[in-house]
Amino acid sequence: MITAFLITMSALGASGDAARLFEEAGTAYSQGNYEEAAGKYSELNLMHNIHSPALLYNLGNAYYMQGRLGKAVLHYAAALTIDPGFEPARKNLEQALGETKRSLPVPDIRQVSANPLIRYYPLSPLQSLLAAHVGLFAALLLLLARQWRDMPKYAWAMRLCLAGACIFYGLALAGDRASRSAPKLAVAQTEEVPVYFSMNESEAPRFLLYEGDRVLAERVEDGWVCVYAHGGERGWAKKDALGLVEHMIW
C-alpha cells in the first residue's frame, strides 16, 4: 500500500516536473530562444521518456526556427508516425521540406521490401483487422438469420464470412509482423551526407544526401546505415549523419 502510494506520488511529481519544463520550453520559444526551447523539449523527450506527438512537433518547430531543417523534418516525421492524422505536423513538415535543398521524396517502400505482403497487399493491418471484425459480425447476423428462416444460402454466406474473417485476421497478423521488420525512415542531419558503395569512407562517394533528404534505412551495421534513396540508388552512409524514425508503410 505504502509502496503504491510512493510510486503514485513520485509519478505525480515527475509529471509535474515535465509539465513545468514543457511550459518553460514554450516560454523560451515565444521569446525567440529556440536553442533553449529545443534543449528543454529534448530533455522531456529523452530524460522523461515522453514521446507524445505534440512534444515531437514542438521540438521540430524549435529546430526549424534554428534553421536545422534535418532535425525538424525528422521530428515532424516522428510525430506523424505516432499520429498520422496530426495535421499541423504534416503542414510544418511540408514547409520544412520545401526549404530543403531538393525536397527528396520518400522512396516507395513497396518497391524496396522483399515482403510480398508489403509489396502487393493494399490494406493496412488495422484495416485488415477491421475487415475481420466485419466478417465476424456478418457471420453472427447470418447465424441469427438462420434461426429466423433456415435457408441454405444463409449457411453458405455465414461460412464464407467466417472464412473471410479468418483470412483477414491472418493478413492483419502478417502485416503487423511485416511492418515491424520494415525499413525505417532516415533523414539526413548534416548539410551533406556522402553515401558510399561500401562501408569504406576512403572511397569516392556514390552520391550525396543533403540536409532534410529522406531515404529508407534498410539495415544498420557497425555505425553504418544501408540507405535506399528515391530513384533506386543504394549505398552506405554513416549512422551519425542520419536520424532514424519508424516508417509508416500504409
Binding site: 507524445s52 505534440a54 471484425h133 465476424l136
Partner: protein, 589 residues
Amino acid sequence: MKHGSRLLLIAWLAACAAHAREPVTASVSATRAAAGEIFYITLHANGSDVKEPDLGPVAAAGVQLGSPSVQSSTSMQYINGKSSVIQSRAWRYPASVAQEGTITIPRISITVDGREYFTQPMTIEISRVADTPVPVPGKGGKLSVEEMAFVRAVTDKSSVYQGEPLTLRLQIYQLNTGYISITGPRSLPMPDTEGFYPGPEWQDTHMENYKDQEYEVTEFGRVLYPAMPGELKIGAWNWQGMVRWHDTRRRVQSAARMFTAPEIAITVMSLPEQPEGFSGAVGKFRFTAQLAQTALTQGTPVRLTFTVSGEGNPNTISAPRLPDLAWAHVSGPETETRQEEHSPEVAKTFSYLLTPLEAGTHTIPSVPFVFFAPIIKNYKTEQSPEYQVTVDAADGGNTLVAVGGSADAQRSRIQVFEEKILPVITEGDALFSESGANSARLSILALLSPALPLLVFIVLFAWLAWRGRLSRDQGYARRFYAKNKCLKALKEARASAEPSENLDVLLKVFIADMLNVNEAGLTSSDVEDLLKERRIAEDSIAMTVRVLRACERARYAGRNAGPEETEALCTATENVVEQLHAALQETQS
C-alpha cells in the same frame, strides 16, 4: 563446252548468292495508286549494326510519309568458332502522293556496318482522283472521302518578333452527319516545332461552315514562342487514319487516308536594342499594382502586389524592381502564374511583403514595367501608381527584433517573424496525450480483439444448435426433460394425500421418456426387458424392477401405506431415477 556451261552455272549461283546477301532492299505495296491513297514502302536491312534509313530524298520527291511500324530481330551466328550478331530490321512506312503522274521513289540510303547502302529506285503511277464520289445519307450529292474528312494547320501570324506569342491551330474536319467517323493513331503525332518554346495547349470541338458544308472541327490549339530570330518552320502534320461512313444502304464503308497539313514557314524578327529595365516580356500586357492598405502600423507587414496580365510567355517576365525603401523591410517577391483555359491569356503576380520599420508618412514610388509590344513594334513602359502611406508607431513593436549598432546596422539585422510554420503547442495536456496509435502497428489488445466476437459466435452457435436439436429430435427432448419432469412429479406426489398411488406411473413415464417408448401398458417385465436390451447393469435392473413392483403393490393394496413406508418408496424411486438416468446417459453416449 561442258566446261563452259559449268562456269556459267557457277557464275549464276554466285550472282544469286550475292543478291541474296544484299543487306538492303526496298519494296512498295502497289505500283499504281490514286492521289492521296495510301500505299506502303517497306525497307529491309540486315547486318551487325543497322542505322535508321535516310528518307529525306523521298519526302523531297513529293511523297508524304507517316510514322513507320518497325520490326527487328537479332540472331547469333557461329562460323568457325567465331560468333557474330546479325540484326534484321524492317520499316513499313505508310505513304501517299498528292499529285498525279509517275513518281519515282529515289534510292534510299541505309548505313549497315558502317557502310552506306542504297535501295533500288521504285516507280509508282499516281492516277487523278483518290476517291470516287460516294453518296452519303443526309447529304444530297455525292462527296469524296477528302471532302468528308481532312485536316488543316493554321497559325494566326506568319511574321513575329522573337518571343512574341503565336497560336498554332491543328484542326480535324469531319463532315457533320452522324454517319462519318475518323479513327486516328492511338497517340496523335504533333508537328515538329523546333525553335519554339511551347506555351499553353488546349483542345476543343466546334462547328464550322467550310465550302458550303457544315463540319465538326476538333481543334488542338497551342501557343508557341519563337526562341530565335530567322526563318523557322512548323513541320508538316502527317498521320495515317481511317475514315468510316455509311452509304445510302446503311452499309459501313471505310477508306485509309494519309491526313496531311503542309509545313508552315514563320519569319521571326529579332527585337530592337533593349532599353534599360527591360523585363524580358514580349507581347500585349497590362500592368497593375495593389497595396492592401495605406494606413500601416510599425512592424505589421502589408502586401504590395504587381500583376502583369496579357498575352505572352510568362516565363520570360521578370519581377518588377521595387526601389530600396529605407523605412521598410521588403521580402519577396512571391510569384504566381495563372493561365487562362483555352486561351493564350496569362496573369503573373509578384507579391512583396513590406514591413514598416519607422513611423511617419512615407512614399512607395512608382515602379516601371518595360516590355516589347509587337503591335507598335517598339518597347513600352507601364508605371504603377505612387502610394503615400502613413505608418503608426507600434505599441510594443513585438514583431521586430532590433539588435544594437547604428540605425542602418539595426535594419540589416532586423529579423521579421514570418509565420511560415504553425506555432508550438503550449497546452500541458497535449504533452502526455499519446493520441492516435500508429496505424501500421497493432497493439496486443487490438490483435486479440477478434477473440471476443468469435467467442460470442461460438457460444451462440452451440446454444442455437442445441435448441435446434431439442425441437427436432423428440427422443433427445424426452430424454433431456425426463429426469426433471420425474423429480418434479415425485415432489408433487410426496406432497399429495396418497403419494404411493402414482409412484409406479411416474417411474414408468420416466423410463419410457429415457428410452423414447410409449409408456401406455408398460409393465415391470417390459421394463426389465427394455433395460436388458440397453445393457444396463443387472443390479440396476433388479433394483428398478423391485421398486416398480413395490410401488404397484402399494397402489393396489387394500390399505393405505404408512408414512415411513411411503417415504421409503419415494426415496427408493428417487434413487432409481438417479441411477437409471446416469446409466442410460452413459449408454446413450
